[in-house]
């Protein structure tokens, strides 16, 4: 049964529409990450589910009942805010237990439940402290405790990790994942960080400019982006995209400078002649002679390998290369790209071209870590 159902949700401020009709079904217990750049309407969507924003059009159902007209407290959601929004004048214990106090739970029972929640978050020793005396990570945990204690049907997280430093963010990410495994509460999690999205989500909803670009598991979204926007947004770096001309007879696309790239004709049987957008992952590129050639610009060292930025007739393409070989700026580099790793998109709409059945989840070719650099 769907725990959360969004039907054609729209939101306008005055005359400007910021969310243009979102449909989504979330199963009970699912962890959904809404991913998008700032200003794409993802937070607005979350706040509409929470009841903090009015819904201009459409319906939101939580646990089978339409909640459009319900107050936030009646919806059974708990929310964790980006800046935690802890009550500065209350102790940690009071912060966590405030919703119970409002609900009129007697003090002894309240203290017991606060104690349990605090223990599960490792906050037992901080119950009498004020939020100002806590570190960022601890405040984050208090905010989570405040959400947990209500035993909500739905957890809503609004960019909860953005205010933490990089290391803590990874640690809290793991804690949130563990918490979800333990409680199994349906979760909506808003973020602009694709690594968070990939690591946390059962399914990712990629949003751009108020519309949903794609909904799918992290693997699906990575391997089979539906639009050039998703392709470029997901992955680090994003998919390399080049405007090209398709020639289905030869099974090749021609790049603007005349070089050609093969694609898998079995996977893309219906490609017509004419302009397409071709894409491939940096990870699918192998440095080898005889492929397409570009000029080296610079490399980003990652430790495990490096991201080589190369210029192909005006496009900057990024290849994930292993090995220690250094290149001069402007040196010619040749790449082999496995035809099965080439994605094709409509040149105008940016939508993925139709694929043959059964190839939907074709895995990306994994290259051997030991592959050596050669030119």
């Amino acid at each position: 049964m769907a725990e959360i159902t969004l039907r054609n949700i729209r939101k306008s401020y005055a005359k400007t529409e910021v969310v243009h009709g979102v449909d989504l079904d979330v199963a009970a217990g699912e962890f959904i990450v809404i991913l998008g750049p700032s200003g794409c309407g993802k937070s607005t969507l979350l706040r509409m589910v929470a009841g903090l924003e009015s819904i201009t059009e459409g319906e939101i159902e939580l646990g089978g009942r339409v909640v459009n007209q319900l107050e936030p407290r009646e919806r059974g959601c708990a929310m964790v805010f980006q800046n935690y929004a802890l009550y500065p004048h209350m102790t940690v214990g009071q912060n966590i237990g405030y919703s119970l106090k409002i609900a009129g739970v007697p003090r002894a029972k309240r203290d017991e439940r606060v104690g349990k929640v605090a223990a599960s978050l490792g906050l037992e020793d901080f119950l009498d402290r004020r939020p100002a005396q806590l570190s960022g990570g601890q405040r984050q945990r208090v905010a989570m405790g405040r959400a947990m204690i209500r035993e909500p049907k739905v957890f809503l997280y609004d960019e909860p990790l953005s205010n933490l430093d990089a290391k803590l963010r990874v640690a809290m990410r793991i804690e949130i994942r563990k918490l979800h495994q333990r409680l199994g509460t349906t979760t909506l999690f808003v973020t602009h960080d694709q690594v968070e999205a990939m690591t946390l989500a059962d399914r990712i909803v990629v949003m751009n400019k108020g519309v949903v670009e794609q909904v799918g598991s992290p693997a699906e979204i990575y391997r089979r982006p539906e639009t050039t926007y998703v392709a470029n947004f997901i992955g680090s770096p994003g998919l390399n995209l080049i405007a090209a001309t398709a020639d289905p007879d030869k099974g090749k696309v021609t790049l603007p400078d005349g070089q050609q790239l093969s694609y898998d004709t079995k996977r893309w049987p219906d490609v017509g002649y004419g302009p397409v957008t071709a894409g491939f992952r940096a990870e699918a590129v192998r440095l080898a002679p005889g492929g397409i050639t570009g000029s080296f610009e610079f490399a980003e060292e990652l430790g495990s390998g490096k991201l080589m930025h190369c210029n192909f007739s005006g496009h900057t393409l990024i290849a994930h290369a292993f090995g220690d070989k250094a290149f001069q700026q402007g040196a010619a580099v040749s790449f082999q790209i496995d035809p099965s790793a080439v994605h094709l998109f409509d040149a105008e709409t940016g939508k993925r071209l139709a694929e043959a059945d059964g190839s939907a989840m074709a895995p990306e070719p994994r290259k051997a870590i030991a592959a050596t650099l050669s030119v």
């Binding site: 929470a50 903090l52 407290r73 708990a78 929004a85 009550y87 409002i102």
Partner: protein, 298 residues
């Protein structure tokens, strides 16, 4: 900014010290005058060192001015006005900041504009209203064609008359509005998610957070209302029961009009009595007061 300019430092320090002396000198004279007997205080020149009759003068002044009753009146009025002002300021700012309704900004500016209309400017109409509090309503109803005679509600010679017309406050509303605007929206939203209604949010989150703000406002308003002179003088004719301390001061200083030379020692002792409560309030609340005004409270 760190600067080393010893000459400039000396000059500024000197100005500071001189200003302090200029400020404290009159108070010192009051204190000295209050501590001498009648003969000594009327010598020319008056001595500048305190004498030994301070407590005699204080008790004489206390009795002469009926201060038992009058101080109590002043405390009631000052506390009433201060409490009323804080309530009204907090509530009106809460409404203006946290609720979205039409005419919200208009209302805010209307409140704000009353800063330009202190009591002294509108004293005659205010007196008319105090003389018959329901009068304006009657006039409005009659003007729209409902002929009605409301009972007369007279605020003259009463604590409500001394307090209510002074309670409205634009300064307080403005101070509270500025404070509420510094509170992140998420706090209100978190309270909503926790199931708190607006009033609970106001009492359990906003008011506790505004403690320093409240202390600042309380200090200013207590001193201000304690020092009110014109309004009590106007509205109170029953001086035995409703006179306030500041009003009573004039009675302790018999002027030439009454034929006798002024009894400065008692008069100054009465001054000391009257200025003590606001000084105490300021000293007690000043730590909060400063924090409230610079609002760096964490």
């Amino acid at each position: 900014m760190i600067e080393r300019a010893p000459v400039l430092d000396f000059i500024t320090q000197a100005i500071l010290v001189l200003s302090l002396v200029a400020l404290l000198m009159p108070l010192w004279v009051v204190f000295v005058a209050a501590s001498h007997d009648y003969q000594t205080v009327n010598q020319v020149p008056m001595p500048l060192w305190p004498g030994s009759h301070l407590f005699d003068n204080l008790s004489a002044a206390w009795a002469a001015g009926n201060f038992d009753r009058v101080m109590l009146n002043s405390v009631i009025v000052a506390v009433g006005v201060t409490a009323g002002k804080i309530c009204i300021a907090a509530l009106s700012a809460f409404s203006i900041v946290y609720f979205n309704y039409r005419l919200r900004m208009l209302l805010f500016w209307l409140i704000f504009i009353t800063l330009m209309l202190p009591l002294e400017v509108r004293i005659v109409p205010t007196y008319a209203v105090a003389a018959n509090a329901l009068g304006p309503f009657e006039a409005i109803l009659n003007a729209v064609g409902i002929s009605i005679h409301l009972p007369e509600w007279n605020l003259l010679n009463s604590y409500s008359g001394l307090i209510l017309p002074l309670v409205a406050t634009a300064t307080g509303t403005f101070l509270y509005r500025q404070f509420f605007m510094t509170i992140p929206d998420e706090l209100a939203e978190a309270a909503k998610m926790d199931g708190s209604g607006p009033l609970r949010f106001f009492f359990e989150v906003l008011l506790p957070l505004s403690k320093t703000n409240m202390a600042a406002l309380a200090t200013i308003m207590f001193v201000w209302s304690w020092n009110q002179y014109l309004w009590p003088l106007l509205i109170v004719t029953d001086h035995a029961n409703y006179a306030t301390a500041t009003m009573q001061l004039q009675k302790v200083v018999p002027g030439p009009l009454f034929g006798a030379p002024p009894i400065w020692n008692t008069a100054m002792a009465a001054n000391l009595i009257v200025l003590t409560p606001p000084v105490l309030v300021t000293i007690l609340l000043q730590r909060w007061f400063v924090r409230g005004l610079i609002s760096t409270d964490k």
